[in-house]
Amino acid sequence: MSDETLLHKKVSRRTVIKAAAAAGALQLTGPFIISARGEQPIKIGMDDCLTGTYAAVGKNETIGAQLAVEQMNKKGGILGRPVELIIEDSTSGDAGTAVQKARKLIDRDGVEFLLGNVNSALTLAMSDVAYEKKKIMVATGGHTDAVTGAKCHYNVFRICNTTQMEAYAVAPALVKNAGKKWYYITPDYAFGHTLQAGLEKAGAKLGVQKVGGDLTPLGTTDFSSYLIKAQAAKPDVIVILVQGDDMINCLKQAVQFGLEKKVHLAGAQQELEPLMGLPPEARIGTWVFEWYWNQPGVAHVKEFNDAIHAKTGHMPTARTWFGFAAAHTCALGANAAKSLDAFKIAKALQNFKLPPEVALMPGVPYFRAGQNQLIPNQWVGKAISGGKGGPEDLFQVTEVVKVGDAAGTLEESECKMQWPS
């Protein structure tokens, strides 16, 4: 029996080799083409998750950044030079690749700024690279406290909240809507641990009692045994801290069990992406959003929504805004410092307030000095299925937490910033 069946005779080895050689030749010509152009653009590198578990949220972050770069270029770019955004796929969990891409962006592509990542662990790894290479990094969506906490660097800034900030924002609503006996379902990694710790701390001030908790491995598909245990402990609320696909699985199963009739289902961080993936009856619970698109009366938000809708056919999510604000921060910082030097930009960004067309919120968010953490508004509310704003209005805001109210103190963050001399 010969290996070459009729099909394969048509596509011969030679064809395959020729195609590969052509593709290879393209690679060699690549870099040369870029340098032949006129004015040297300033490059922003984005190392985010485009494949794997976090592909959906990572992609949204890059879309926001792309819009920001387009807007920047209409206004003259950074220091008068055009801006180019280079996006690399960090994959959803391969740190080797994320670090590799970060170095590639800095060493080979010559980016001045680094943006990313959805995954907290990758964010930390990238921040070490940025620190080593002395480039400004604006972290978009990795929430673990250490990024602007124990492992903070002078040249690393963050847009999204720390888990402690989210905890402070949502705890009062959990007590008010549900009660003081809490059972935690926590994802077993740094983000989950710090979020639970943050909630326990915030809850302690409100007289909350922890009646039990479970650490669930990332990627758990079947939450039934955890939900059985949770229900047996008779809490007022099952605090669901798992995210993304785990959130969808957990809520879907909890509602199938009819648990929402016996016990309040809630949590802390929630996002539009998982809510969109849930069937309508499972869109319930009290949560906090880091940014929400339905903000009637707030300047510039409608333009942002329209621009993103034109690009993707969907409303922007918090992730879109993270990427958007992060990219703009690079331009704002460089223009304020009138330099591309990381040290000068970092100094210029201390206590820097984002302008309304970037902030897109009622308050005025700012990067807290000595921590480089953005202190924004947060939105507390209930998940709903189809609000007045349309099919993607899946969150009913009950309270907009004012800038600074949930921020905690600088000491709490454990960031001891070291500035180079």
Binding site: M1, D3, T5, L7, H8, T51, G52, T53, A55, A56, K59, D214, L215, P217, G219, T221, D222, S224, S225, Y226, L227, I228, K229, Q231, A232, D245, I248, N249, K252, Q253, V255, Q256, F257, G258, L259, E273, P274, M276, G277, L278, P279, P280, E281
Partner: protein, 289 residues
């Protein structure tokens, strides 16, 4: 405490039935063709997505009926074009091929349906629990067990009562002789592969009812299938069924006492089986050397 254990045993059987369904498809393909189908999870996802796409037109039941057949059809094509050229060679090549195929399936799913999870809705009357106390016995989970039971029964009928099934069983033991006896082995392998993929597609539709539907839905489900096959016995379908159920129950019971060891227990079982009885609980002689 006994009630909690009982709950978890029941629940474990439900989960185990699902693992068994996936593992059976994988086992069928492995036994006859010697191919480790890394792309099994990809076909599972495809089955789920096809059902999702069909639902607005034919409803849940129509999708449940049609999607696995569609997936099986795609499996037949994949086998014919991609895997068939590799049968004469070292098993390494078919392994690598299914590996590459898995990548492609995930990426194509993401390209067509997007990375964003899509809401897969099952009929409302199925989702209600049967009783307030046994709340985890939802209509859907019972339905799933029944369906898996049906599928397994159908599979055993096919294998034992039809000519195709007899040839598959014979081929699993000695493919060369079967070929010499005049059976078209190529078509046999093709149909067997299709049968295995049918089970994967069915598992996909069932999974989408319980889990979020996104391109990587199948990847986390493939490892328990492997373990089920190793524990239950290489080359034995009843063994695979047993293996799946055992894993499900063991995980469930472990959750009561050592919640953090819930998944570890399936690997511990695998290690024990390999130490004590390397061919698996119901595995056949002659598979080992």
């Amino acid at each position: 405490m006994t009630q909690l254990i009982l709950f978890n045993v029941f629940n474990g059987l439900i989960v185990g039935a699902f693992y068994a369904l996936m593992a059976l498809g994988l086992s069928l393909i492995l036994n006859l063709s010697g191919v480790i189908n890394f792309a099994h999870g990809g076909f599972l996802a495809l089955g789920a997505y096809l059902a999702y796409t069909l639902m607005p037109y034919v409803g849940f039941w129509g999708a449940l009926l049609i999607a696995p057949f569609l997936t099986a059809f795609l499996g037949l094509i994949a086998e014919r074009i991609l895997i068939r050229p590799l049968y004469g060679r070292d098993p390494l090549y078919s392994l690598l091929l299914t590996f590459g195929l898995a990548y492609v399936l995930e990426d194509v799913s993401r390209y067509i349906w997007g990375a964003q999870s899509v809401p897969f809705a099952i009929p409302a009357w199925l989702t209600t629990p049967l009783s307030s106390e046994y709340f985890f016995l939802t209509g859907y989970r019972i339905f799933m067990v029944l369906l898996v039971g049906l599928a397994v029964a159908a599979l055993f009928i096919i294998l034992n009562k039809t000519r195709l099934g007899m040839r598959i069983r014979a081929g699993t033991l000695d493919l060369e002789t079967v070929s010499v006896l005049g059976v078209n082995v190529r078509i046999l392998r093709n149909l067997n592969f299709g049968l295995g993929i049918y089970l994967a597609g069915l598992a996909g539709v069932l999974a989408a009812g319980m889990l979020g539907l996104q391109p990587t839905i199948g990847t986390s489900l493939i490892m328990p299938s492997f373990v089920a096959i190793i524990v239950g016995g290489l080359g034995s379908l009843p063994g695979t069924l047993l293996g799946g159920l055992l894993i499900g129950v063991a995980s469930g019971v472990t959750t009561v006492f050592f919640p953090s060891a819930t998944e570890a227990v399936m690997y511990v079982m695998m290690g024990l089986v390999l130490l004590v009885r390397p061919r698996g609980l119901l595995g056949e002689e002659g598979r080992v050397h």
